[in-house]
């Protein structure tokens, strides 16, 4: 558990977040099960911090991001952002809360309305949430374009007229329009050319520094996360496997899954690279509609033992600042948990029988 | 008791209604439905019944026909006859005397010049006049004064009531149509759509194939008529919808030709808003026998020509057997109900010309079988089909596409099969069947079948031209582009001689006798033509419309001037 005396109050606190998507089948579309995309996730993000969220595609990391900003209605759990539980706000309160929290999307093309000009896209939230005059708005739009490095002449162009990198800058400018405190970056560089990726990442870092932003940086690009994030959460099948400071995680992953995942990262140091063993996981990721009974990773874990197949491990602090959800470490810890104790066996067995 | 008094009162009111409202335009508006909408009002440019009849509200002949087929005066004082001296003794001249003081609807005087002009209009070689037959045999027309029309015929004309008589031969206003002679006829749209006439109504607006709006003719010769001030003749839809509009919804007062099946007739009659009017004319649905060989094995140009007689239909016993196997009353019940009756005659009316022949009415399957046995057609191989000399008795039976005709085909096929005749059915689209295209193998004139079924009638009351269709020299063939009217390829010198005799006989009783004889020569004496059903007209009139009398000899709207509203 984070100690309040040592640490500042977190800006974002997620507790037991669950996001289940119902499955309807048959002639009468009866509810026959759920896809448990996110199944009990808890973490904190401190002001000014960047939390990396990594995992294979389909592990639920993007869902976490969207549920956090309540672009999905979470099934359970609390999401406290800047003192308010976003997961339970009324529609109108939520709308007013939106300026605080923003998102930068993965596909800059699809995330921009093709029929709106750049000025329209960036300016629309200003119409909705401020009472600026037309001139003030134009001024603000130009200001934002300057901040993200877009030429002011482009204000009346449509998204399709820009390159991928420029579009992502538009997306960022739009996210910044209302002076948010917290931004979810949902794979913001995945769709970009490698040469552009660095520019965008630098821009994000730069903005964080200047505006004191807090990021949840979702990515499957482990090296980029290493570069950017203060702490990193590794997700597997809807749950957090390990949450550790970036430096510790990359040098010495604790969870077997984190270990396997990180063994695939390109190591810039040839000496280290030579010494490292690549761990190849066997089998496929189980379906989130029907996860295993015990540890979600038990079907593929190279170090699996009996207990793993029966009881889901909770996320526990095994070393200072390092949280792992694995039975290999459960004996060695005495510290509390940021996991969600009540979300254990009973819930996850539902899907197994079907 | 009260009810009874009220009913009596209503009945009395109905009885006196025409007298009580004998004032022009007093009865307001009347709605008439012609589901085949009129496309022109000039009968000379269209021979369609719909056009001729709606046109008859405006344009009239010198005389017309009543519902009994008698000639009645319209624009003339009286009907000229040999007795009253109006028709010359040698039958080569007829003199019509116009009523004095007649006016066109535009207020100008009607004169004999208009009649002469009409004759010139229709006989112009480039005009394509649809009623040219009405003016056939006329040598000249003289107009000694404004009220006298003298028609000179080239040959004695026993029936001189063709030109200017009936709705198909109306008088046009010379002043209006002066520039519409010959090829210009069809460019005169305004004239053809809004002719100036002498009839009870005049045209206010004409929309092609849609609607005609009329109003009472202010110069109509009877100052008390018509009782209706305005009339709408609407078109569109089909016979069933037309019947419904009068019988069930009551939106219309009169619907023309509501020919629907007997079942629907009953259902509509139950609507209680109107009644069906029926009348019989000369339209006869018949089976025609091909006396020539239609075999496809023959060379093109020789099929169905007199070069090759039919292999078995030339035997009267086969033809008679086929006729005997048919139950005509059943056909009526299936297809026409109130609008048809069984007949054995080609000329079923007028009474003067209608033979009393009823031999064919009773179906006689056994008799038909015996007759075929006698003719040597026997089922030797036991397959149910008669044969003779190794040839099967196989008949190709064609007609046009039409639901009633297809029902008839199916029923007649089953009767014929029951007497051991193999029947193959064929249907041809009506526009092809009656299209007369010399290049098409499927026209009824080419007759590339053993028997075929359709309906035909004659215009007016005189059957002479109709019976003259069966002359030897009217056989269709490649030499005349298959345009002859003798569809059966019937050829009998005695028949030809009798037709000739008819053409020079003036005595009506004698004419009737000859016509009956000719009719029988084609039907009960030879079974070349096998009449089935005398098809009547069936129209619907609202219970509130008085005076409507169905007339099959002239326009159905022949007495629209006498129509009134029952209140």
């Amino acid at each position: 558990m984070l100690d309040a005396s040592r640490q500042p109050e977190p800006l974002v606190r997620v507790e037991g977040l669950k996001m289940h998507f119902p499955i309807y089948t048959g002639l009468f579309r009866s509810h026959t099960g759920d896809v448990k995309a996110v199944d009990g996730v808890s973490f904190d993000i401190l002001p000014g911090e960047t939390l990396g969220l990594v995992g294979e595609s389909g592990c639920g990391k993007s869902t976490v991001g969207r549920a956090l900003l309540r672009l999905y209605e979470p099934t359970a759990g609390r999401v406290i952002i800047d003192g308010e539980d976003v997961a339970h706000l009324s529609a109108e309160k939520l709308r007013q809360k939106r300026p605080t929290m923003q998102m930068v999307f993965q596909d800059p093309q699809a995330s921009l309305n093709p029929r709106m000009t750049l000025a329209g896209i960036i300016g629309e939230p200003l119409d909705e949430h401020t009472s600026m005059s037309r001139a003030e708005k134009t001024q603000r739009i130009y200001e934002l374009m300057d901040q993200v490095g877009l030429n002011r002449r482009f204000a009346n162009r449509y998204p399709h007229e820009f390159s991928g990198g420029q579009r992502q800058r538009i997306g960022i400018a739009r996210a910044l329009a209302l002076n948010p405190k917290f931004i979810v970056c949902d794979e913001p560089i995945a769709a970009l050319d490698v040469s552009i990726q660095a520019q965008v990442v630098n821009l994000l870092e730069d903005l964080q520094e200047r505006l004191g932003l807090t990021y949840l940086f979702i990515s499957h690009d482990l090296s980029m996360v290493r570069h950017l994030a203060d702490r990193v959460a590794v997700m597997y099948l809807g749950r957090i496997a390990e949450l550790s400071p970036s430096k510790d995680l990359y040098s010495r992953p604790l969870h077997p899954y984190a270990e396997a995942l990180l063994s695939a990262v390109n190591e810039p140091d040839p000496e280290l690279a030579a010494r490292r063993n690549r761990i190849i996981l066997k089998g496929d990721v189980p379906s989130p509609a029907n996860p295993p009974q015990g540890c979600n990773f038990c079907t593929r874990c190279p170090r699996v033992f009996d207990l793993c197949r029966q009881v889901k491990p909770d996320l526990q602090e095994v070393e200072p600042g390092r949280f792992v959800a694995c039975h290999l470490f459960s004996d060695k810890t005495t510290a509390g948990t940021t996991g969600v104790p009540e979300a254990r066996i009973e819930h996850n067995q539902q899907g197994a029988s079907k | 008791m009260k009810m009874r008094t009220a009913l009596l009162g209503a009945a009395a009111l109905v009885a006196f209604a025409p007298a009580a409202f004998a004032e022009r335009g007093a009865d307001g508006h009347v709605n008439v439905l012609y589901w085949q909408a009129p496309s022109t009002l000039n009968a000379y440019l269209s021979s369609g019944t719909k056009d001729v009849e709606v046109g008859s509200l405006v344009l009239e002949g010198l005389a017309g026909f009543n519902e009994k087929g008698e000639v009645i005066p319209r624009l003339v004082e009286s009907i000229p006859t040999v007795e009253n001296g109006g028709v010359s003794a040698d039958l080569k001249q007829i003199t019509w005397k116009l009523k004095p003081g007649l006016l066109w609807s535009d207020g100008t005087a009607v004169t004999s010049k208009d009649a002469k002009f009409t004759y010139e209009y229709c006989t112009h070689p480039d005009g394509g006049c649809a009623q040219a037959a009405r003016y056939e045999g006329i040598a000249s027309i003289e107009t000694p004064d404004d009220l006298t029309v003298v028609i000179n015929f080239t040959d004695p004309k026993p029936n001189p009531y063709t030109a200017f008589v009936g709705a198909t031969s109306p008088i046009l206003q010379a002043a209006q149509f002066a520039n519409c002679l010959g090829a210009a006829a069809s460019t005169c749209t305004e004239q053809n759509f809004k002719p100036i006439g002498t009839g009870p109504f005049k045209v206010v607006d004409f929309k092609v194939n849609d609607v005609v709006q009329l109003e009472a003719n202010p110069n109509y010769r009877d100052p008390a008529k018509p009782a209706f001030a305005t009339m709408t003749v609407k078109g569109g839809g089909d016979a069933q919808a037309a019947a419904r509009a009068v019988m069930e919804t009551g939106e219309f007062d009169y619907a023309w030709n509501t020919q629907i099946n007997p079942e629907q007739q009953e259902q509509m009659a139950a609507g209680g808003k109107g009644v069906f009017l029926n009348g019989y004319g000369t339209l006869v649905e018949r089976v025609e026998m091909n006396l020539t060989d239609p075999s496809p094995d023959l060379a093109e140009g020789e099929r169905s020509t007199t070069k090759h007689p039919h292999p078995f239909l030339t035997d009267i016993r086969v033809r008679k057997a086929l006729s005997m196997a048919i139950d005509r009353q059943t056909l009526v019940d299936i297809g026409y109900g109130k609008a048809g009756r069984a007949t054995c005659n080609l000329v079923p009316a007028p009474e003067l010309y209608a033979s009393a022949n009823t031999d064919c009415i009773a179906q006689d399957i056994e008799g038909a079988k015996a007759l075929l046995d006698e003719a040597g057609w026997k089922d030797t191989d036991g397959d149910g089909i008669r044969d003779k000399d190794g040839k099967k008795l196989h008949i190709l039976y064609q007609t046009s596409v039409n639901p009633v005709r297809q029902d008839f085909q199916a029923v007649i096929k089953s009767w014929w099969e029951s007497i051991g005749v193999e029947v193959e059915l064929k249907q041809v689209d009506a526009s092809v069947f009656f299209g007369g295209d010399a290049g098409s193998p499927d026209t009824f004139q080419k007759f590339y079948a053993d028997v075929e079924m359709y309906a035909n009638n004659f215009d007016g009351t005189d059957p002479e031209p109709y019976l003259a269709q069966y002359l030897c020299d009217k056989i269709p063939g490649p030499d005349n582009q298959w345009q002859g009217e003798n569809i059966n390829r019937f050829c009998d010198p005695a028949y030809d001689a009798l037709v000739k005799e008819l053409s020079v006989t003036a005595d009506m009783a004698k004419r009737g006798e000859i016509a009956k004889k000719l009719n029988e020569m084609l039907t009960k004496d030879s079974y070349v033509v096998v009449p089935l059903v005398d098809r009547g007209r069936l129209s619907a009139a609202s219970n509130t419309l008085g005076g409507a009398v169905l007339n099959t000899w002239d326009s159905e709207l022949w007495n629209a001037s006498d129509w009134y509203r029952i209140k």
């Binding site: 672009l71 007013q96 809360k97 939106r98 998102m103 993965q106 699809a110 921009l112 309305n113 093709p114 029929r115 629309e124 399709h160 997306g171 739009r174 | 496309s39 022109t40 269209s46 369609g48 005009g127 394509g128 006049c129 649809a130 040219a132 006829a185 069809s186 460019t187 749209t189 759509f193 607006d205 929309k207 092609v208 194939n209 849609d210 609607v211 709006q213 709408t232 609407k234 569109g236 089909d238 919808a241 419904r244 509009a245 919804t249 219309f252 609507g271 689209d429 009506a430 526009s431 069947f433 009656f434 299209g435 007369g436 295209d437 098409s440 035909n456 004659f458 215009d459 031209p465 345009q483």
Partner: protein
């Protein structure tokens, strides 16, 4: 854009000429003859004269070229003469209908008002009904409104208009007598009473056609909406804190309308062409009824002219749809 339009129009000329030849050829080849309309009581000589006067017997190419000249040269001159009171046409032979012997264009102009009013209103009503239903059905996919909309669309699209038309007539005109079963083309709207009468007689045909058209348009709207609703930019709009109204109507609906507008534009030539079946059922006697009547009567000039005008309209509205697409969707540029 202008060059694009000009180029398209230029390409349209040979296309339309080809279409006109094909139509003429097909109509000409079709079995049947205008002579079939002449009763059998008319003797063969007279019949031959009538056909001669119609010009039916001329060779194919002569009739085609004459028609072409009349359509593109004579008729426009008559139109100019009519509009400006000039006399360029000087009595040249117009396209004459075989069955009525009157100029085909007069008949078309006479019939256009009822077709445009009834079919046009039906189309407008269909759009007005279809858009909200389509939008709402997609927004609340699988809700009861959506299910009902799907069912009604299925019925509307699959049950033929001659059936729905007759059923409505039997129920509302015959049994209940609420509405007339026959359309009155002579009605002039002069006051509130006659306006009400006009609306009254339009209700049944408009309902039949409206249901049919609405079914199609609402399905297109729904699927287009569904496609757009799952797009990222919708999530962006929500993340911006836009109200649902703005998200659905401004962002999603506007983008979804692009294909829908195209479908609507492509359907417009049908408004001119009339609805053959519905016009017949309700006795509206518009263009559709004229066409089917002309086909029955083998009135070649009429059939040819109406079908060709329809072809011109289809080509034109295709172009309009393409241009609209470009106007509505900034991603598309015609150069």
């Amino acid at each position: 854009m202008l060059t694009y339009v000009l180029r398209r129009l230029f390409i349209a000329i040979p296309t339309l000429l080809l279409i006109s030849v094909v139509i003429f050829f097909l109509v000409d080849l079709a079995p049947g003859s205008p002579a079939s309309e002449i009763p059998l009581t008319v003797p063969p000589e007279v019949r031959a004269k009538i056909l001669e006067s119609l010009g039916v017997n001329a060779p194919f190419h002569v009739r085609y070229l004459l028609w072409l000249k009349q359509f593109f040269w004579v008729e426009p001159m008559y139109a100019i003469d009519y509009l400006f009171g000039t006399d360029y046409a000087q009595g040249a032979q117009r396209i004459i209908s075989y069955s009525s012997r009157s100029p085909v264009f007069n008949i078309i102009i006479e019939r256009l008002p009822q077709t445009l009013t009834v079919i046009g209103t039906a189309y407008a009503v269909a759009i007005l009904i279809a858009l909200p239903i389509g939008i709402y059905s997609a927004y609340r996919q699988y809700s009861w409104v959506d299910q009902l909309g799907t069912f009604v669309s299925m019925v509307g699209y699959s049950v033929p208009t001659f059936f729905t038309g007759v059923v409505l007539i039997v129920i509302f005109a015959v049994k209940l007598q609420w509405f007339p079963s026959i359309y009155d083309t002579t009605l002039r709207i002069t006051d509130w009473g006659s306006l009400w009468k006009q609306i009254h007689q339009m209700i049944l045909p408009v309902a039949v056609l409206g249901l049919y058209n609405a079914a199609e348009i609402s399905r297109y709207t729904r699927s287009s909406m569904l496609e757009n609703l799952s797009q990222d930019y919708v999530r962006t709009a929500r993340a911006k804190g836009m109200s649902e109204r703005v998200v659905v109507l401004k962002h999603v609906a506007r983008n979804s309308m692009i294909p829908v507008v195209t479908i609507i534009a492509l359907g417009l030539p049908g408004v001119f062409g009339g609805a053959i079946v519905t016009e017949q059922v309700f006795k509206i006697n518009g263009i559709g009824a004229a066409l089917i009547g002309a086909i029955h009567a083998n009135d070649l000039p009429m059939v040819q002219t109406i079908t060709f005008i329809t072809a011109i309209l289809i080509v034109t509205f295709n172009l309009i749809a393409d241009i609209l697409y470009g106007v509505l969707d900034p991603r598309i540029r015609y150069d």
